[in-house]
Symmetry: D2
Subunit: 298 residues, 4 copies
């Protein structure tokens, strides 16, 4: 226990369960083969969601497997599953939740999402290992370091942007980041990094996408006179604010709210949408298919 | 097509899909056996939700099976499944959505839920066969009859209540009602009828249960000064407003709303909660377990 | 009472209250002058909302005045107020709610909003006089006529569009329409009509504007993979879907919802957003300023 | 600036505005007299909400007065207003937002609300002066002290409860607390303290009151099988969980959520409802009348 906060207890639950996520072309008997595979190795299923999208004929499934009755280890399970996976032409993953994902948070000068994520991580609601917080400003050094976490300042300047982001890329590789969370980072990620970390960079955009793509969404929402504002948690792709959406949240606003009020009210949406989207990702509850997501919510 | 409204088209979709719903004690390999059973008969699974409740160790599943590739008829499928069902000590059902449920609507003098249900039924959103509307007042005879539906007036008087409800019971039996919907019926159903039609009477209560059980919930909500009011769709049991909850809806209210405003705003909650709860039931998406429900929402 | 539905009772409440709405440049002592004006004529204020927008320095107010203690008639009150109104360079209105607005509903082939409006009007929730329902298809003639309302079919054809809409314009003038409600009319209103009826045409758009302006919003929402869909009630201006927004509503959707599901779920948003926006307008609770609205909700 | 967080900037806005809140029996011309009083002293009104409750005939108003044009000081304004206040038999207050309220936070062993309040206070969203955090456990000492705030541990034991709470009472008096916030304090406040601090103790209850009054609301919500859970921010009175409600928030839950999930999801409701309710109180936007509140939301 650090700083008077209860330490994360997710490892206990994680060690009793593994997750198989899979998507592939549909066929008759597919779920039977998968469940059979698990059953013959003694695995009990706590929760299964399977869903075939009608238009594309694509099969998606998420299976939570109790590990205590399994007759094989997780690595062995993976090895044995790989032949089946290949045969089905499937994208699949057997998660090892005992190993929380190595995560890098990136921030700029707005700290509401960072503070929220740190608290939820500390409380055990977000099972990740924060290997560093990378920022283009020094603003939140002490907020981060007092949690016993590493804070790395990588300034981004207009003139040296390409080189600066090469430093970021090198850093992410050296840190062996499995996930990057842009907690209001306010910088456009270069295409090469987006591609290298496909499906592994999560952003929170401060509007209800596809409304108000780009800069100053609250100001534009104020000018348009919308009656609800929102936030969108999505994977980052090279096209700005166009990546697969994981979660969205909205709040009602009225004529008496000025742009500062929208910003204040919107921040609660941002925090909730990011925390939920991130939690789904960390629990392997999100499958990406094309530019959309299948989210098995918890 | 009647009265210029499009006729219900649910039969088309219903004929391409059947649903297996089941709940029983959990064991290793259970879902594998079920999916195997379907696969060996050529059935493809469009959507599967399975969930085991940790505290009770109870297994719940809902499987949507494409019928066009099935090698057996639905009645045959049922017959063959019954041995497995017995072995698993399961409550189970294989639905035949080509046969919409024979449904009786019951109303009193508030028509907002009735009007909403009639419209949704007419639009094809509620796949039921309305065999009659039974009312303790004449108020909505023409509203019902102009839809080409049967309206039956069974007055309920304080002194003759027991006998009046025997008439209602006889009527429901003669109509071979598979489902009874209390669309603001405003009468307490006798215990014997509740028991006879367990899990087949759906009520809409005009409060967010368990708040404001019983009479005059809006008035009491006003007096308590709550900031949200709501409505609850639930199965009727002998204990008033205590049956398994299917769906709830709320709306924000403010100090300037008087009891009439609460009633007006609450009616939108009632209509939505009832329509959604009823739709889930008609699609065999609700499993009752003890005093709770498992709802596989659509 | 017609068709077994309670008749509208709004006239009773309307006769006890009048509304002064006003917007103008702000100055010190403005509300004092207005309230003084009312008080010296014996008017009691039930509810006052006043609000000055900081950025524009514009003053907005809505005052509900009890009429029973007024020493002058409503027409006299108007006459006496006009000098003050001119001096303040104000847009103002003193409503006469004993005279519900002459309203024309316009529909095409989707009836969910029409059915909802008819029911709410019949219940007394929407204090308007429906002088006609104008449609470009015959679909809902009987639904309308059985309410004792006038149904007028004005077909709109691609080749004769301009002439067809001249007929519509003539019709609206002959009917002395004070308000036009596009209840899923699905036709773009010509600029000349938009201008002639500025602030008097209300539309329901089936998306959460400014997302998905134009055609097929549900299909596009499905393709984008948004997690919330919505509807927008707004005044019509010559620029498509860009008029002042009165009300918006959203509903959560998931990956398993197909375009038909979005349509079904979105219709509930459309009905609620239109009914609420229309109600605010009918109660003179909406002030238009530039391309935005001030809505004093009830 | 402390710990890398922006310091509170509320003082800037607060110094340009004062608030008159008042409630009293209604009479003709009341608002005219009040606005006249302000206008003759050069005060401009930014926002006025006035509302008369029909059933009780009680008048409520909140007036935001721009101070820069005022010809008198705030203390002088108060002095001059007191005669009018007496004449009207009014409860009234002219706030001095340059002086944030002296506030004591009280916590036990759940820190989610505390962490949230500290962050919002630090960001300037909650204009209060936190004079101390009082806790019956040591759990959050470092979380509090690292913010530069005073942490006071007052253990509460079953056997010495009365004496322990006398210590708390003495402490609150010595700290000259104007407001006490029970941020999941989990102890029942003795009647004498409730009475002494009437309207000045705010609690967050982890259920949607009046559902699940008392202990273990999430567990009871789970057992009842409700489909929405919530939180309630209210003033504390001697009757447990029965005080005037300021704000409520809800979130949808499903059958697959266990009691731990309800707790996790409910915490987001608690944080939002408490933060909003507290903000309204600090901005003098809440008027208590009997056991209800009038909340002029921002």
């Amino acid at each position: 226990m650090k700083n008077g906060c209860p330490s994360a207890d997710y490892s206990i639950h994680a060690m009793t369960e593994t997750l198989l996520t899979i998507d592939c072309p549909d066929r008759v008997g597919l779920l039977a083969r998968l469940t059979q595979f698990i059953a013959t190795r003694g695995g009990n299923l706590r929760e299964v969601h399977q869903f075939t999208e009608e238009t594309s004929g694509w099969f998606f499934a998420r299976m939570a497997i109790e590990t205590k009755t399994l007759s094989v280890t997780i690595p062995k399970l993976r090895e044995e599953f790989s032949a089946l996976g290949s045969e089905l032409k499937a994208d699949w993953n057997i998660a090892d939740h005992a190993q929380p994902k190595r995560t890098v948070l990136m921030v700029s000068q707005s700290g509401h999402c960072l503070a929220d994520l740190l608290w939820r991580w500390r409380s055990g609601d977000l099972p990740m290992e924060i290997v560093a917080v990378v920022a283009n400003h020094e603003t939140f050094r002490s907020v981060v370091e007092r949690e016993g976490l590493r804070f790395i300042h990588v300034p981004i300047a207009k003139e040296t942007r390409a080189a600066d982001f090469e430093k970021v890329g090198t850093l992410l590789r050296n840190l062996r980041a499995e996930l990057v969370v842009l907690a209001r980072y306010m910088q456009i990620i270069p295409e090469s990094l987006c591609t290298e970390f496909t499906g592994r960079i999560i952003n929170i955009h401060h509007s209800f996408l596809p409304s108000f793509i780009g800069a100053n969404p609250y100001k534009r929402a104020f000018e348009r006179g919308v009656k609800l504002i929102g936030a969108t948690c999505h994977y980052v792709t090279p096209v700005l604010d166009e990546g697969p959406i994981i979660e969205q949240e909205v709040v009602r606003v009225e004529h008496f709210h000025n742009p500062d009020d929208l910003l204040r009210l919107g921040q609660d949406c941002e925090r909730l949408a990011l925390a939920r989207g991130l939690r789904y990702h960390l629990a392997d509850r999100v499958l990406i298919h094309g530019n959309k997501t299948v989210v098995f919510r918890d």
